[in-house]
């Protein structure tokens, strides 16, 4: 079976296809659109989220990775929904003369798409959760999350208030988790009606700036978390967290706290291995010394560097949504840099190859058996 990798960039989507995960063909789709997220549902339809500072947010869908049709609906807030002032300030939701547009709440980006239990979920900024139960033809806000008390005081991360992580439990449709920069990590046990913060003992500075969280939906309560301030693991659905940095490069952050900084965290379900891409702290946000390195943990305890095939002169970053596994056996891994290079491994990270370069800034990567 082959693989398709959808690489969302600031100017379109690179679609890389391979039958053997060694030789790749590439096409460039959705030209002109920043492609911020993608996902494929159980029926084999692939969705790509686009946004534009001029023309807003939209979704495209394709059944063959080549012919993309725009859907006639997308997640949107209601006219009466009130926005978070700090998010407005950060994302410059201004009019033509630079004045704030008022108190409305706007969807300015789809950060993640997550198919589960026959539905398609979307995480957006200004932070919110939406669901479609008709393959994107209509979207409903999950008010239990979006309208919860306290959202007006959530503090945004550098990129605004983005709901970038959605996780589900294959055995329990009522349980799900979401992560927001920098409002924290939340869990619902009643199908989205009520939510509880799950950040206990995770180092924070103001709010909890969760960067990315992964799980295996079949063993959903084991959670793997890359936080702004370090890497953590939970075995109880987020009720408690343990620092998980043995073997990772630790750096002094701008606050003086010492931890391992990075954005994506990918979990390979068949092997149980996890992968992160450490960067040299929040002040630099590129690989330490320019050596691009992926770190792998196979035992849930210690991490080991993997650099075979990765450049020693890389001063680009890897964003939170820009790494993915294809969940094949053995697991293939793919990640892209802000400098437009894509690296792939078909042996759980033991060796890497650059399979594309010269792309615009890479914002999202997803991989599918195809």
């Amino acid at each position: 079976m082959g693989v398709a990798v959808i690489v969302g960039t600031a100017k379109g989507a690179a679609v890389l296809k391979s039958k053997d995960r060694k030789n790749w063909d590439m096409s460039f789709e959705l030209r002109g659109w920043p492609v911020t997220a993608s996902a494929r549902d159980d029926g084999g339809r692939t969705y790509a989220a686009v946004n534009s500072p001029n023309f807003g947010v939209a979704l495209f869908a394709s059944d063959d990775f080549a012919d993309w049709k725009q859907l006639e609906a997308a997640p949107r807030y209601r006219p009466e929904d009130r926005g978070n002032p700090e998010h407005h300030r950060l994302v410059a939701k201004m009019d033509f003369e630079g004045k704030l547009k008022g108190g409305g709440r706007f969807v300015d980006q789809i950060w993640t798409l997550h198919p589960a239990h026959g539905a398609l979920y979307a995480g957006v900024s200004e932070a919110g959760l939406f669901v479609s139960r008709d393959r994107g033809d209509s979207w409903q806000p999950i008010d239990g999350f979006n309208e919860q008390p306290g959202r007006e005081s959530w503090f945004p991360g550098f990129g605004g208030l983005g709901l970038h992580t959605i996780l589900t439990d294959a055995k329990n449709p009522d349980r799900m988790w979401v992560g927001i920069s920098a409002a924290g990590f939340f869990r619902s046990d009643d199908g989205g009606k009520t939510w509880t913060r799950k950040d206990e003992s995770v180092h924070s500075f103001g709010g909890n700036c969760v960067h990315h969280v992964a799980n295996n939906p079949e063993k959903a309560s084991v959670l793997y978390r890359q936080e702004h301030f370090g890497v953590y693991r939970s075995e109880d659905g987020g009720d408690s967290w343990q620092v998980w940095e043995d073997g990772l490069p630790v750096t002094e952050m701008s606050t003086g706290h010492r931890c391992s900084f990075g954005f994506p965290l990918v979990h390979d379900r068949k092997s149980g291995a996890s992968f992160v891409v450490p960067l040299d702290g929040d002040a630099y946000r590129f690989p330490r010394g320019g050596q691009l390195a992926v770190y792998r943990s196979t035992d849930g305890k210690t991490w080991h560097p993997l650099t075979n095939g990765l450049p020693a002169n890389c001063f680009a970053g890897v964003l939170r949504g820009s790494m993915a596994g294809d969940q094949m056996d053995p697991g293939g891994l793919y990640f892209g840099t802000t400098a437009g290079a894509i690296y792939a491994s078909d042996d759980l990270g033991e060796s890497w190859r650059e399979i594309a370069s010269g792309l615009p800034r890479i914002m999202s990567v997803e991989a599918y058996a195809a």
Partner: protein
């Protein structure tokens, strides 16, 4: 009255590659509303959650530039051509 509206390149894909669309209206904003009613995907791009024309959209009409905030009051005539684009950005 009927006018022709030229779409910006990134929106043409949603309209099957068409560059020009026919619209009805007596103001620029009415023409955009008409297109949005005919094509739901265009409404997403033209109007934000408050129902306002997205603030960075501009229209070239009769040799002049019409900003989003002025589109509801800017009159158009039968047979006019409107060129939709975004405000200049970048260096």
């Amino acid at each position: 009255m009927s006018v022709r509206v030229q779409l910006p390149p990134v929106l043409r894909n949603a309209m099957g590659g068409h560059r020009w669309l026919e619209a009805e209206g007596t103001t620029v904003c009415e023409a955009l509303c008409d297109l949005g009613q005919k094509h739901a995907s265009l409404a997403l791009h033209f109007f934000d959650e408050q129902g306002q024309v997205r603030h960075n959209i501009v229209c070239l009409h009769g040799g002049g530039l019409v900003r989003a905030r002025d589109m509801h009051a800017h009159s158009i005539q039968e047979g006019d051509e409107l060129v939709l684009t975004n405000a200049l950005a970048g260096g």
